[in-house]
């Protein structure tokens, strides 16, 4: 059994490119070129150099001593929160902006929910001097004002998505429609391991730098390249894909995915796709998604905007279906508590998305000698208002 993508663009039964014919030339151009371009030494050199000098990689693999003591196991935090712009999202946008340039594109579009991917896209567009248009749900624009301001400062145009439920899934629809309307000069930088093939694979490969670093960093600190567990939160699943990537085929490394249960699985306000979803097509990919029995995509809920997506990427659908990864649902309350705990124990304020991963330690017991690597996907600056309101700070 393979857990990686096959030559038809599927992870097991999930993936593919379920796109209208209008998108075929764009997606096909990317499909035919992405591996070739990524394999060019010049491309790799430029990618690595930007990750080092601009993003600040490698991100530290930090042994969290007090957290480890509390849970009686060995916990390492992969510090994606220390990247430029504050999350793992920039690994992907750096890769894709270089790809867009190789393909001769002059105009960049992106979708964003909380604004993290929008900011990361606006950042690389500023860096490369390319036009940047970010679609964002009207409701998200209202609740994520600081990130909207950041994107504007970076020179991006933020266009409100006013269709459907006016959140991330609709922003994604709008970005796709823009691409249909601008098939020649535009590249669409998708923000997670979702969308039609080759996006899930391309984004996973750009994020794979995370697990590549974990291997040698762990070797330095633990004398071995493999952890016993890798834990990550899954919205679409890009930070998880990056943290899992080089361990996918090695079943000695156990993979754990934290999903957002929102106010509880049965509350009607949740984003726990593996539990509440079933197979279908979302944004051009066959995967698991939350939908009505008639196949209408439903609106998820999570306190964390980055996990507030009604699907998961096809890689994760496959990891779930095969049992390769264990999926655990974390409620808003459990995540918030775990986030605050990290502040007090380690002096790190995490993004609420990452706090969902941290909450796993209350759900699952590890052995004292287990080496557990956790993807700390982002920092909490963007979430301060949510933390303030939640804890009455």
């Amino acid at each position: 059994m393979s857990y990686n993508i096959n030559n038809k663009g599927y992870y097991g039964e999930f993936g593919g490119a379920f796109i209208p014919e209008m998108l075929y030339p764009n997606v096909e151009e990317l499909r035919q070129n992405y591996l070739k371009v990524m394999a060019e030494p010049e491309f790799q050199k430029e990618f690595d150099k930007l990750l080092k000098d601009y993003v600040g990689r490698p991100s530290p693999l930090y042994f969290a001593k007090r957290l480890s003591a509390k849970y009686n196991t060995k916990i390492y935090l992969k510090r994606e929160d220390l990247n430029h712009t504050g999350a793992h999202k920039i690994n992907n946008t750096i890769g894709q902006i270089l790809m867009a340039k190789r393909l001769g594109k002059q105009r960049i579009i992106a979708e964003t929910g909380a604004g993290q991917h929008g900011v990361a896209t606006a950042t690389v567009c500023a860096l490369m001097g390319l036009e940047c248009i970010v679609y964002m749900g009207e409701i998200d624009i209202a609740r994520q004002a600081p990130n909207v301001a950041r994107m504007k400062m970076l020179g991006a145009t933020v266009i409100p998505a006013v269709s459907g439920s006016k959140t991330l899934k609709d922003a994604t629809n709008e970005a796709i429609r823009d691409w249909i309307n601008n098939p020649v000069d535009t590249h669409y930088i998708i923000g997670s391991v979702v969308g039609p093939h080759p996006y899930p694979d391309m984004v996973a490969r750009f994020q794979a730098v995370v697990s590549k670093e974990i291997q040698w960093q762990l070797k330095e600190q633990e004398g071995k390249t493999k952890p016993d567990y890798v834990i990550a939160c899954v919205g679409g699943g890009s930070n998880a894909a990056g943290a899992y990537y080089h361990f996918l085929e090695d079943t000695n490394v156990k993979l754990i995915a934290a999903e957002a249960a929102g106010k509880g699985i049965q509350s009607g306000e949740s984003a726990a796709t593996s539990v509440l979803g079933n197979e279908g097509i979302i944004h051009g990919s066959k995967s698991l998604l939350m939908q009505t029995k008639d196949g209408q995509i439903t609106e998820p809920y999570s306190i964390s905007a980055g996990l507030d997506y009604p699907g998961i990427g096809p890689m994760h659908a496959h990891l779930y279906k095969t049992g390769r990864a264990e999926f655990i649902s974390i409620t808003d309350d459990e995540a918030m508590k775990a986030g605050l705990e990290l502040c007090k124990l380690e002096g790190i304020i995490p993004a609420i998305e990452s706090s969902h991963a941290l909450a796993i330690f209350e759900q699952k017991t590890f052995k004292p000698n287990d080496v557990v690597v956790l993807s700390l996907s982002g920092r909490g600056d963007k979430d301060l208002e949510t933390y303030i309101n939640y804890f009455n700070l």
């Binding site: 593919g16 490119a17 379920f18 796109i19 209208p20 014919e21 209008m22 075929y24 030339p25 269709s163 459907g164 899934k169 609709d170 629809n173 796709i176 429609r177 249909i180 309307n181 601008n182 098939p183 020649v184 197979e279 279908g280 097509i281 979302i282 944004h283 051009g284 939908q291 029995k293 008639d294 196949g295 209408q296 995509i297 439903t298």
Partner: protein, 255 residues
Amino acid sequence: MNRINQKLQEDKKLLSIYFTAGYPELDNTVTIIQNLEKSGVDMIEIGLPFSDPLADGPTIQASSTQALKNGMTTDVLFKQLKDIRKSVNIPLIIMGYFNPILQYGVEAFSKKCAEIGIDGLIIPDLPIEVYNEAYKTVFEKYKLLNIFLITPQTSGERIRFIDSVSNGFIYMVSSASVTGNSSGFGEEQTQYFKRIANMKLKNPQIVGFGISDNKTFLQATQDAKGAIIGSAFIKHLSKFGTNKIPEYIKQITKL
């Protein structure tokens, strides 16, 4: 012979109308279909509304959202259409995104369509490769023609491939655009229409997207066999409900 194939043999330019089922009111479906036939429309595309219509512009999006709010579902639509063949003879096509069909079950959906007397399907996000591999036999079993799209960006080679798989007509998207863009046709479109006409495809072409009035209808059908109006008709429905459909159609065809 399938009603679509029969219709395509008629010696005239065809007008096909798209509307979203369940809009403006849940129970308008049959009334709209009957009125369209009476008005001289040649073919009808019944839109099965979807929450996330990727290829559609604001007009069809809004009508879909409203239709779903009104309570439209696949089952409701099939119930509404149960006796449609008692009163309507022109070809009927269901246009819908793939996910609702997948949830219904592709075979069950096809069977239901055949029982009702649906002649074809347009599923914009079901790629031709997947169709060939997984669903062609099912559709053929129930005598449903699957209609594929081409766009100005579709390569000649791919157009030939689509033509070889198609059996009915080719849905020719007028420009690089989602539905509902009605800025008229310029030099670029005219050349594209000519280029496709010169390919002498096996299947006739019907142009859709951006046709909104008599002028664009005539431009589109100069070379092609027919044209499809969607968003502009939905706008008419928004204003007048199911009234004045014959008047609306008359000012398109001017017949």
